[in-house]
Symmetry: D2
């Protein structure tokens, strides 16, 4: 059985290396830069995804709150109205998830994080972040996309910390302290 | 079978009449008044409950957001740090729910909405709102407390609308429009 | 201020009386009966709603689990695939909520709980449960529908207990005991 | 700015390599093996965590359901009673999260996934899975633990697929199809 760890971890590591393209590829670098600008300039940031993509989105939304942004998760209790100047970030491996498309259609400022194959969300979004993945039979369904999106968004958090000069202590100070 | 509706609805209606005590009973009237003041004076309002009491709390937190308050649900993604000047509202039929007590212990400004039997949450809270209910074998577990808390908190929303002069249209304008 | 309680509670009580029509009106009585049959005959029961309607749906799904049914909330983590023999229950005041309609379109056995004005969900569902409500300026947005749906579904729980001979103790035994 | 990607991704990759110890280190290998056995032998599997650890737990619980296990998330609507023969999996970077400890104390069969520093959850659990991480100022708060736990649990899914001979197609067939 344990042979598998030695097979699967290098495959995961190889996937993560693919994210280096956001530094080396001029087009991807520009997209990432536009994504950071969109976050920094938004009045409120809304995040949505279905299933595990939604969980990845929530993990990112929580860090946006820690960074001091007004972040909301569509579908959670206190999500307000989307207004001019706001930003919606949607996450979907296929870019074809029904509910995610319906929600994206209602917003007029959308960043879509999907796989790198052209898709509906890519088409209807203002900024498309394509995540290149390498599949494997033991990374079933959207697994590879999901951990890649998780790590990509943690990299985005790191870039925002650096660009805005936000320390870990400031983030800790905003961290929920009742649980 | 349908005889039961004729039995159970009058029992539910009788329960709801019990809420009139918040107008007639001086002590309850003062408690309600203090609750409204605590909401109006809070910088941020946190809501928590477990199970169906938690769902009732979320329904109330959503309306607090529609009314223009900074409301958060403990356990949801973007719940920030509880600070001085903030308010925690906890809901628990028994007043003895483990997680709810743990969370209440960490806040220093707590309103507890529980049944009217003395209990731990009542004791450790700054304001205790006791809800008097009449049980019935066909209102199993916390059912009577839960719909009573739901309706009581909708009455609180009505009182806040009236006191603050907030119209339904203002609330509609804040209502999530992406779903 | 407190005059309002005396205005609003009787209005809420009047709303609840409207539910008696499910006993007196032959058409509504048949609809309720079909709803109970659909629950009892379903392999798995899925529940969905957006916003406070969704919270009402979750409160009902929890009781279905306590009653011994295989109940799931669409959008929560462990919601499985909808298959032949399964039932979807959707809740929406207007019957026009975008996400709810999209989900209902994907299932082939749907009960829709909405207001009593003809609407899309009513049209595309197999069983339509129309809830008659009386609005009021201090019951903003979907408030009246939501507490009516909450109480109506608690009545459905009572009817299922009676019809299936399920005791409160059996339900207590299935109640989550880790929180 | 973009220098940072070239700094942070290799650090993330280095972290992931640390998971290889679950193949090389005899003690960790045995722990992993016991964890797999505990999952396979459980009647029902409950998962809990707070914050981003909770999101990681939900991502794993969803895959457990896809694999055919009876998985539940503590705190979600349809979580039933924990009984003899059931398993609770808790996730907490520090191993000291208040709510997670309270829940773990109520179950008698617990797997704790935490950092590799001795802690309360490690002590009160039946199986302790210590995750070794390498921190960095741009992986704030629990970030490194969280993506490591995410990936570790995806490796566990891969191992379960292999050991039980479960194909991606079977998992796809159980995947929620209403959204």
């Amino acid at each position: 059985m344990f042979i598998l760890i030695g097979e699967i971890l290098p495959h995961i590591a190889k996937n993560i290396e693919l994210l280096m393209e956001f530094e080396y590829d001029e087009n991807l670098k520009n997209k990432l830069n536009s994504f950071l600008d969109a976050i920094i300039n938004a009045k409120n940031i809304f995040v949505f995804g279905v299933g595990r993509s939604g969980l990845v989105g929530k993990a990112f939304a929580m860090r946006l709150m820690h960074l001091g942004f007004n972040a909301y998760v569509v579908g959670e209790t206190i999500c307000p109205s989307f207004k001019e100047g706001d930003l919606l970030i949607v996450i979907s491996g296929s870019g074809e998830t029904t509910l995610t498309k319906e929600i994206a259609k209602k917003a007029d400022n959308v960043v879509a994080i999907t796989c790198n194959i052209p898709n509906t969300l890519a088409k209807i979004s203002n900024i498309w972040i394509p995540i290149c993945i390498s599949k494997n039979e033991y990374l079933p369904l959207g697994t590879a996309f999901e951990f890649m999106a998780f790590i990509f968004l943690d990299v985005v958090v790191a870039l925002l910390m650096k660009r805005l000069g936000i320390s870990e202590n400031e983030m800790k100070d905003r961290h929920c302290n009742l649980q």
